[in-house]
């Protein structure tokens, strides 16, 4: 029960970024993708797609083939409010986890390479392969080639018209749907197996678009928000929605018309007859049910205890994957005037003070205490999914109480005060963060800082504190996805031109005065910290958002990271673990995907080992 918030705000931001790109313009990445076997699809298409897709299939397969039939049971702690991923409530991660069965679109994230791979299109459009063109009028055109065999579960082909219909639905102003980026589409056209659209300006964000396609022939003329909550349109994925027993489980069954084959064996996918998603709110119960083999696949919140419990099951046949996930925790400073309500003596405007904090925090101890030392602390948030682009800029702030002390002294001089006072706020209903606040007491005290904890319930913290900007030193998490669009999106969070509520710069780093907002909390004076760095960052951010050219993007990303680190706007701490466990003696073909794609990303490849 207490766990919802740990994922909610983050998963949220995350989901949107979920289908984030690997580098439209990044030649290296594209090459890697091409090398991988996943693009082999065209060669294996012919033999089986046209074959009768029923139970006849297994008998005809060769000996090394994988068995057909059987069921896998997946447990999750949340239940979807709706199955319609476009509707309000459809943005919950569980919808996309179940949706892996029947939703399909342009791209998905490969669980092995953690890169974006094509799903319904022949290849992902990039500048290099000609799928993306920047036009003379500074607009950008993106073109998709739809896989020939791609069809809906009712046998209808998936066409460019379906893409167009999807766009029309999203842009329908009467429907409560996320529309960002789509709103910048100025033109579109389609043929039977292609779809092309033009964005008003070059942006990496195009990689996020069309992650799910809606079948025009089934959905046209229906109430899109009302009719598709507990039933689902024809599937474009390996399974079809069968039943949703509210409060208990969703059951999906094999889509006999699924057009993809196993690249290794050439067998038609999927292998399983059905997959059941069970909803069990308590982690404790999920683990117990897994131990009792009532559940085959789980993805529990990775506490140290949980991991130990699961690893103890490995001799019995369980396979446990503990990976570094997309959600990264960071320490941050408030630069808006409301920080003074929390701490009248807030020293945040002093760079020396912020450096003192950076040196005072012992990330190694934190990782040891909270994650049992299973991962390395972060030297940059860029490391999470794009280590090759990272400058590791925060590595300059090693843990050193003596250096911290000297910076504290310098800060005192800056501010003309005798003592430096810090008030730390984060969510009180997250065990890891509470632990963190306890560890901070000694670390800050050792650096000579007068430190106080002021934790609050996550609903208050994320509901009010962030809006009002009334914290002093804060801590929460953001989420990354593989690729450029995700990185660009992360730098948007610090954009001095985007104060809440229009943007997400809750830190009020360099933000202008905000007035006339309906909700009082957002009305605020200009940031207490506006300087040449914030000005420069705003410029970089604008350029990042108007380019798809790697040669432009890479140096800009490096510079932006360096500014954030040198100015100590935030201090990245660590990326949270994700974990998944499966009974390897029952289910084969499982590979956990540590991104938001989740454990079901390749569920069409799962098969029963024991059949």
């Amino acid at each position: 029960m207490t766990r919802l918030w740990h994922s909610r705000p983050v998963v949220f931001g995350a989901l949107i970024l979920a289908f984030a790109l690997v580098a439209a313009a990044c030649g290296d990445s594209t090459d890697t993708a091409d090398d991988s076997t996943t693009t082999a699809a065209p060669t294996t298409e012919a033999p089986t797609t046209t074959a009768a897709p029923t139970t006849a299939a297994p008998t005809t397969t060769e000996a090394p083939g994988k068995p057909y039939g059987g069921e896998a049971i997946v447990a999750n702690d949340q239940e979807p409010a709706t199955l319609n991923t476009f509707a309000p409530g459809g943005d919950n991660s569980i919808v996309s986890i179940i949706g892996q069965s029947y939703f399909s679109g342009v791209q998905e994230i490969d669980g092995f390479t953690l890169e974006l791979i094509p799903e319904m299109v022949t290849e992902l459009p990039t500048v290099a392969n000609g799928g993306v063109t920047v036009n003379a009028d500074d607009t950008m055109t993106v073109r998709y080639e739809i896989v020939d065999e791609a069809m809906w579960s009712d046998g209808e082909p998936i066409t460019g018209e379906d893409f167009q219909f999807t766009l029309d639905i999203i842009l329908n102003p009467d429907l409560p749907i996320f529309r960002a980026t789509y709103e910048d589409i100025v033109d579109s056209s389609f043929t039977e197996k292609t779809f092309e659209y033009t964005l008003s300006a070059p942006t990496t964000q195009y990689e996020l678009l069309f992650g799910n396609i809606i079948p025009k022939h089934a959905v046209e003329g229906t109430d899109f928000i009302g009719d598709w909550n507990d039933k689902m349109w024809p599937s474009a994925g390996p399974f079809i929605l069968d039943t949703w027993q509210k409060g208990e489980f969703v059951k999906v069954v094999r889509n006999d018309n699924y057009w993809r084959n196993d690249p290794e064996t050439g067998q038609q996918l999927p292998y399983l007859d059905s997959v059941v998603f069970r909803f069990i709110p308590e982690t404790e119960s999920i683990i117990n049910a897994f131990r009792a083999r009532e559940i085959d696949v789980i993805q529990p919140p990775p506490s140290t205890d949980t991991i130990e419990t699961l690893q103890a099951l490995e001799p019995e046949g369980a396979v446990v994957e503990v990976l570094s996930g997309p959600v990264w925790e960071h320490l941050n400073f408030q630069f808006g005037v409301n920080r003074l309500t929390r701490n009248p003596d807030s020293p945040n405007t002093s760079l020396n003070y912020r450096k003192a904090v950076a040196h005072a925090v012992d990330k190694t101890t934190i990782v040891d205490e909270i994650l049992a030392g299973q991962v390395e602390p972060l030297d940059s948030f860029v490391d999470v999914f794009a280590p090759t682009l990272s400058q590791a800029s925060w590595a300059q702030y090693n843990y050193d109480p003596e250096t911290a002390k000297s910076y504290v002294e310098a800060a005192k001089a800056d501010l003309g005060v005798d003592t430096i006072k810090t008030v730390f706020s984060t969510t009180s209903n997250n065990d890891a963060r509470v632990k963190l606040s306890e560890l901070f007491v000694d670390m800050f005290t050792e650096a000579g800082i007068d430190y106080t904890n002021s934790l609050e319930d996550s609903q208050i913290f994320f509901g009010e504190t962030l809006d009002f900007g009334n914290w002093d030193l804060g801590e929460w998490a953001w989420s990354s996805s593989p690729g450029f669009s995700s990185l660009v999106g992360l730098f948007d969070l610090f954009d001095p031109e985007l104060a809440p509520p229009d943007g997400q710069n809750y830190y009020r780093w360099g933000t202008p005065e905000v007035t006339g907002q309906e909700t009082e909390g957002f009305n605020q004076a200009a940031s207490d910290l506006i300087d040449e760095n914030t000005t420069r960052f705003a410029e970089i951010r604008d350029q990042l958002n108007s380019s798809v050219d790697n040669d432009v993007l890479i140096p800009l990303i490096a510079e932006a990271e360096t500014i954030l680190a040198d100015q100590v706007v935030i201090i990245p701490l660590y990326a949270r673990l994700v974990t998944a466990a499966v009974w390897g003696d029952e289910i084969g073909g499982f590979k956990h995907n540590p991104t938001q794609a989740g454990e079901t990303w390749n569920m069409e490849m799962w098969y029963r080992v024991d059949m």
């Binding site: 489980f249 308590e282 117990n288 509520p501 229009d502």
Partner: protein, 401 residues
């Protein structure tokens, strides 16, 4: 009698309105809003504005309250044909359960009235028939045959609150009823036996165990049962008797009748026991005290002096008197059972109202939170009235005016 019931109903409505206001203000005061989850999403701004407008979240609190109240009592616009589909459309065991229940209860009631009218013996049956009448009303409400409300639209995005609550009510009812029956058939005989064998070894052990069960948090009991009776029992014996979680197998619909029954029992036992345990302890303790008091009464001495066998003295003369105070306890305990269900359902993945409630709280879904609170409130008010009536039936000295 009728006047009494009407008066109690009027008080009940006043209580419920007060309850709703207090709860609404509490939710408002507790901070956080239904759209907070969207806040950290950089692309949700258009949605936030749209939903804030649609749900009136920017309005003053009292105005929001009255909007809620209006939605809560406004009938839904559903054609009668829809109700008929709900009534006859779903026939399977799940669909049949209420039909069979209501029909048998109805037949039982009519029979009791016609055949045994006037006999004191049958009065309790008739009183219980009132409970069935309430169930019929509930079920008709669910089927939208008689009247239909929406109770507003869920902020979580899963449709009318009414449908969600009644969708989940069946599961909670099944769980609660099983727990109640378990508590009654174990707790009451236990208490009686303890009273009859006062100060015996059995009595001492029973009293100690009651105390332990009574003071153990339900979370620990539930997880303990999961581990002991599902996980380790299977490990030790190789026989899977009970399930750790869930209410039914995913293949439930394809099973035969006996297999379905077996499936229900194997899923139901552990959560029901978890809830029942505290009630068993409570009932046993209370029944023991009540029974002891009755055992020392003059009329029991009379019964013995008449030469009645001991068994008859206890089962006929003592039991009924000793049960009177229990009726009140049990009817009030219904609230406790629902409270226990909130936690237990989450632990066992049981698709009931308790789970819905926790989901709603996590999503700050006012309409659902309010509707759950209100339906529990309505249930308690109804149960209190039923208890009062039952009380009068068990104890002829009580009359209402």
């Amino acid at each position: 009698m009728l006047a009494y019931i009407i008066r109690r109903l009027v008080y009940g409505v006043v209580t419920l309105v007060a309850l709703s206001l207090v709860v609404f203000l509490l939710i408002q005061a507790s901070g956080g809003g239904p759209l907070d989850r969207l806040k950290l999403n950089p692309r949700a701004q258009n949605l936030i504005a749209q939903l804030t407008e649609q749900w009136g979240l920017d309005k003053p609190v009292m105005q929001q309250y009255f909007t809620w109240l209006k939605n809560f009592v406004t009938p839904a616009d559903v054609p009668a044909a829809d109700g008929l589909i709900v009534l006859f459309g779903k026939i399977g065991l799940r669909g049949l359960t209420p039909i069979v229940l209501v029909l048998s209860a109805g037949a039982y009631t009519v029979w009791a009235f016609l055949v045994k009218i006037g006999q004191a013996w049958w009065r309790p049956v008739r009183a219980f028939s009132l409970v069935f009448v309430w169930l019929i009303a509930l079920w008709l409400a669910k089927s939208r045959l008689v009247f239909s409300l929406t109770w507003g639209e869920s902020f979580r995005g899963d449709g009318p609150v009414w449908d969600n609550i009644f969708g989940a009510a069946g599961a909670t009812f099944r769980l609660g009823l099983a727990a109640l029956v378990m508590a009654l058939i174990i707790g009451i005989p236990l208490g009686i036996y303890q009273a009859i064998r006062q100060y015996s070894f059995f009595d001492q052990v029973g009293t100690t165990l009651s105390f332990v069960a009574f003071s153990t948090p339900i979370f620990i009991i539930a997880v303990g049962f999961q581990l002991l009776l599902a996980l380790y029992l299977e490990k030790w014996t190789g026989v899977k008797l009970f399930f750790v979680t869930g209410m039914s197998d995913s293949s439930y619909g394809d099973l035969g009748f006996m297999a379905q029954m077996g499936d229900i029992v194997r899923h139901l036992t552990l959560p029901a026991m978890s809830i029942a345990l505290i009630s068993i302890a409570g009932y046993a303790r209370f029944q023991r005290a009540s029974m002891l008091e009755v055992m020392h009464s003059d009329y029991l001495r009379t019964a013995k002096a008449k030469g009645l066998p001991r068994r008859r003295v206890i089962l006929k003369h003592a039991l009924r008197n000793a049960l009177i105070p229990i009726v009140t306890l049990v009817s009030l305990d219904v609230a406790g059972i629902i409270g226990g269900a909130i936690i237990t359902e989450s632990i066992f993945g049981w698709p009931g109202v308790g789970r819905l409630y926790i989901q709603a709280i996590n999503a700050v879904d006012y309409p659902t939170i309010m509707a759950v609170v209100m339906s529990i409130g309505i249930g308690i008010v109804m149960m209190n009235i039923v208890a009062d009536i039952l009380y009068g039936v068990l104890d002829p000295r009580v009359r209402y005016d």
